[in-house]
Each structure stands twice: as C-alpha cells, then as structure tokens.
C-alpha cells in the first residue's frame, strides 16, 4: 500500500500513527551444522507492511492464524523492536527502546490483548490495574480523591457501573466481557491517541462480543481514538471497521474500504477467506471448491507472491516477483497486491 492510496481511502482525516516498510524477522536458534554457516535465518513474521491509523477511525487487520497480525500490533506498540521500517507518531519518527521514551510513547499508543482472562494479573484487583495505568502516565492526580475520581471516570467510560462495585474485585470475579472492559479501561488510563486491539473479542462469548465492540466504537466516536482492530473474522471487520487490510503470511495482500474489500474481494486469498467464512445466507449450491493447502512456512517463505502455491490463478510472475499493491478503482483506497491486477493484466 502506498501512502497516497491510504490517504485517498480515508479522505482527509488526521493521521496519527503511520508505519512504512514495517518488517520483523524473529531470529531463530541455529542448530548443529548451521552454526558454521553465516547468514541469519529467521521467521519472516512481518514483511514490508505499510499502515496508517487515523484519528476517529477503525482500521481492521484480517488474516488467518500466524499471518503476522499480532506481530504488527506489537511492533506498533513497540513491544518488539522492528527489524526495519519506520514508525511515525503524529508525523514524527519514533525510535524507542525502553525507559522514559518508551513510556512517553506508550502514553499515546496503548494495546488491548486478545484474552481478557490472561491480560489481567490474577493477583491484582481492578483498582490496582487502573491505578498503575494512571500513575505511570501521571494522570492519577495529586490527592486520593483525584485518583478515586479518575478511577470512577474510567470505569464509567467503559460502562462498568456502578464503579464501586468493580473497583475492588479480582479478575476472576468478573465475567469475560467485564474483564475486557477493565482491560480497555486500563488502556484508556493513559489517555492514548491510538488503541491497538489485538483480537479483543475472539475469546469472548458470542453474545457479549458485540457489547465490547460497540463500546470500542463508542469510544472511538467520543474520544476520537485511532483504533487498529485485529481479527480473523472478516465479517466482524466489515461490521466494525472503516478500513480493512488483509494479511497473508506476513504481507498485506489487500486493503481498502471495509465494504469494498468484503463485498468485492480482489485478491484470490481474500476471496478464499470470504468464501470460507460461515454464511447462513449462502445458497448451498454456491459452495465452490476454494483453494486448498496450507499457509507457507515463514522461515522459508515462497518466492514471489506468498500465496502462489495455493493460488488457483498463479502465473509465472507470481512465483518470482513480489507483487506491489495495485490500486483498484472499485472503491476508495482499494488495492490488491496481486499480479492479476498488474499493469499488463489490469490495463
């Protein structure tokens, strides 16, 4: 995705966090004979990802398990150092490692984890979790009342009321939806501009998922947060996000306006994904045989387009050249990294 296409997709809204060429290769332990050979091997978890998060908008990142979604989120939160690529927060390039700079960054970019059962420390109360978030980012105020007020505000904001009832509870005394709200409240404790939500509802019960998603949407509207919504459920991306990016094996293969991406998928992988998603409305006859096979190894990714071994339309060029994002004109900012839409083909 290029800068211009992304900008086109979202009109003129203010860019908060911008990543370009984001790449992460996890080193893997060498064993035996490899010790002798030089050159690094690694898991190509994320390769050359461009991403823009805008104020007051939700950007969805969709892809199957292991495609690198969480890694992108962690890179954006600076929990991992990136192998290459740059991050710009509010237009300025950020280089943070630890300590003060990291705190300053984390004040503005917060993350919510997939599993609300695991992301709250079982030995601490809700109060502790929230107080820490406030204190670290200097928002606890001066007096005990200030703090109490701030805590109450936070809990009210995530629709946990009355707040007193929840403050002194331990995580195991809360339901999944309530926990995820506490996790969101903690993230909000820093008063961030960007919220990175890594599959925030996938571990929640179907009936309460929507509550959390609706809450997030509400917060986005009221606080004008930029939200990165990571999911493997493309239907929920359509429901919740303004823009959707599809990842496959560490690369973004398609992106654009959510409605366009889900209704007119361009990339063969996106098409496969959408065909595979359960859909009660689908006429049984339409059930055509999609691609088969499995996602590639990220240690030794296929040359060219990473989807080529599974792609029913694979051409020679797909096996050698990495496809750049080709803009498509059927929706705002819609693009696909697929040679089918390359100059020759699309022309």
């Amino acid at each position: 995705m290029t800068h211009s296409t992304a900008a086109a997709a979202s009109g003129t809204t203010e860019v908060v966090l911008e990543a370009s060429g984001l790449t992460k290769h996890f080193p893997i332990r060498k064993r035996g004979r490899e010790l002798l050979s030089r050159g690094t091997r690694g898991v190509h978890a994320v390769d050359d990802v461009d991403l823009v998060l805008r104020r007051g908008r939700v950007t969805a990142l969709v892809g199957e398990s292991g495609s690198g979604k969480s890694t992108v989120a962690r890179l954006l939160a600076q929990l991992h150092p990136q192998t290459s690529g740059t991050l710009r927060l509010g237009g300025e390039e950020v280089v943070v490692k630890r300590g003060r700079a990291f705190r300053a960054y984390s004040k503005r970019v917060q993350m919510i984890f997939q599993d609300p059962f695991a992301s709250l420390n079982p030995v601490h109360t809700v109060r502790y979790h929230l107080t820490r978030a406030l204190k670290i980012h200097g928002r606890a105020g001066k007096t005990a009342q200030d703090l109490e007020q701030a805590l109450t505000d936070l809990l009210t904001r995530v629709q946990l009321s009355p707040p007193e009832r929840y403050l002194d509870k331990f995580p195991h005394e809360l339901s999944g939806g309530q926990r995820q709200r506490v996790a969101i409240a903690r993230a909000l404790g820093a008063d961030p501009e960007v919220l990175l939500a890594d599959e925030p509802v996938s571990m929640l019960d179907v009936s309460i998922r929507l509550g959390v998603l609706n809450l997030l949407r509400d917060l986005k509207d009221r606080l004008l947060l930029a939200i990165l919504y990571i999911t493997h459920d493309i239907a929920s991306a359509r429901y919740f996000a303004d823009e959707t990016f599809v990842m496959y094996a560490g690369r973004v293969v398609e992106g654009g306006d959510s409605e366009t991406v889900t209704q007119h998928p361009a990339h063969p992988y996106t098409q496969l994904l959408i065909d595979s998603a359960p859909d009660p409305d689908r006429p049984a006859a339409e059930d055509k045989d999609g691609g088969s096979g499995e996602p590639p190894s990220l240690i030794d990714p296929p040359r060219g387009c990473r989807f080529n071994p599974r792609c029913p339309f694979a051409m020679d060029i797909c096996r050698t050249e990495v496809p750049p994002p080709f803009p498509l004109d059927d929706g705002p900012g819609h693009f696909a990294a697929c040679w089918l839409y390359g100059e020759g083909a699309a022309g």
Binding site: L120, V123, H124
Partner: protein
Amino acid sequence: MAVITTTEATPVAAPAKRRRLRFVANPKATTGLVLLGAFAVLAVIGPWIAPFDPSERGGDLMQGPSGAHWFGTTHLGQDIFSQVLVGTRSIMFVGFLAGIVATVLSVLVGVTSGYLGGMGGEGLSALSNVFLVIPALPLIIIITSSLPETTDLTIALVIGLTSWAWNARVLRAQTLSLRRRDYVEAARATGESTWRIILFEIMPNLTAVIASGFVGTVIFAVISEITLAFIGVSVSSGWNWGTVLYWAQSQQALAQGAWWWFVPAGLAIALLGTALSLVNFGIDEFVSPRLRGGGRTSVKTVDGRTVRMRVGFTPVLGDGTAREEKP
C-alpha cells in the same frame, strides 16, 4: 507458620481471601500446618519446658521410658525427652534458615534468568543445572567437615547455599512461562518498568511455587542436618535430633536394646517431614485443583450399587422417573 508468612509477606495481598481460606480449608494443609505449628512452638519453648538439662547426667543410666523420663535415659543418665525437646530448636532453626537462604537465592537466580533471558539468563540457568546434578549430600558433608567450627548457623548456610538449584530451575521455568503471559506484556505495554514487572506482576504469581520450594528445601535441610549430626560431622553444634541419634548409634543403643534412644528422635523427624510434606501437598492442590481429592469419590446408584467416580465411566445415579424436578 513460615509458609503463611511467605504468602503474606509478598504483595500477593489478598488473592481474594477466599483463595487463601481455601488453602487453609484443605485438610492436608491444615494437618501439616497444625503439626508444623506444634513443632514451632516446641522450638521456642522447648528449652524452657524441658524437664532436665539435656547434657546433665543423672543417676538412672540406660533406663527405659518412665514417668520421670518419658523417653528414657542415655548411658549417662541424660534425659532423652529433654534432648529431643531442646533439639527441636536447632532443627527448626537450621531448616528454616537454610530454607530462607536457598529460597532467596533460587528466586534471585531463577526469576532473573527466567525473565532476562539472553546470555546472562542462560549462564545462570547453566549454573543451577550444575548445582543440580552434583550430588548435594556428599558435597554438604565434605564442606561441613572442612569447616573449622560447625554451628547451627554455618550448617544452615552450607545447606542453604548448596540446595537452591532445584527451586531456581522450577522458578525459571515458571518465570519463562509467566513472561509470555498477556498480563506481563500488558503491564509492559502500559509502561511499567522491568523491576516493577518482576516484583509486582511476576513474583506474586510465583508465590505458591516459591512457598512449595521453600517447604521442600526445609525438608531437605532438616534431613541433611540430621544426617550430618548422625554421621558425626557436626555433633559439636549442640543438641538436635541427629545428635541424639548419633549418641545412640555410638553407644550401640540398638544392640543394647535401648530402642527408646532411637525411636523418639526418628519419629520426630518423620513427623516433621510428614508435616512439611502435607503442607506441600496442600500447596500443590491449591495450585492445581485437579489433584484435589474432591469430596466423595464413590456414589450409590438407585439400584443400590456403589460405584466409584472415575474418568471414562461416568456413574449413573438413577433413571428419568426417580428424579424430581429441581427448582
């Protein structure tokens, strides 16, 4: 006892009072704690309530248990009951001090190497593995016998300094797994500093492991101290149960038929060991509920047979008609 102190000392605060109560409600843990408490009380008041000076010679030589001498007397007429009572203090002191030393070391090494990873972590881990495979008791025997003077303190230190490796290893493994937990990542993402993460996010979740390691080390330390005394390496350090056994052995008590000289101290050891083991079971079951006994294990079915609850064959209590509708 100290197990609880550990639990309270760490900022685990109140992982819900309910949870701790559950620990105490565990019959094994309770039995263990009560026994342990009894020993602790004896350790404190033993020397005061002992009817005799344990070294004092009396007129009754090699007498069996009697009203005056509950556990009988030695070849010098010393009161064995008093020796066992007085010896409790040394046992508890060495056991717990060694436990504390080893626990502190193991936490330092284990948690640091687990959390930090990298070369330092690997090095520390290798160190604990080395200490782990070197047979501990021979090492302790050699070190202790090389000390110019053995007091309870030095013995406790030697044992403590040589027996931390096991716990360090367990803690490291635990820390490695905790480190990947979302809540640790989340704390990091919130901007918590490393030491705070270790101290307030990771350590409280290690409480049970630490406590269990502590109790295990205490058992080991007690047995080691007794062993050292028994083989005569550290008899000079004053009365403890091992010293009693040492004297019994060197006076060939068993051959003389003086069973009372051996049995009380041995039973005391076994009892203390059992108490500590029970506490450890309690901790294990507290941590891993699957191990809990879980109340009744056999059920009476409607046709009067008793069946055992077991995996794979769920018992059937009755048929459709036998059951009244529940509110």
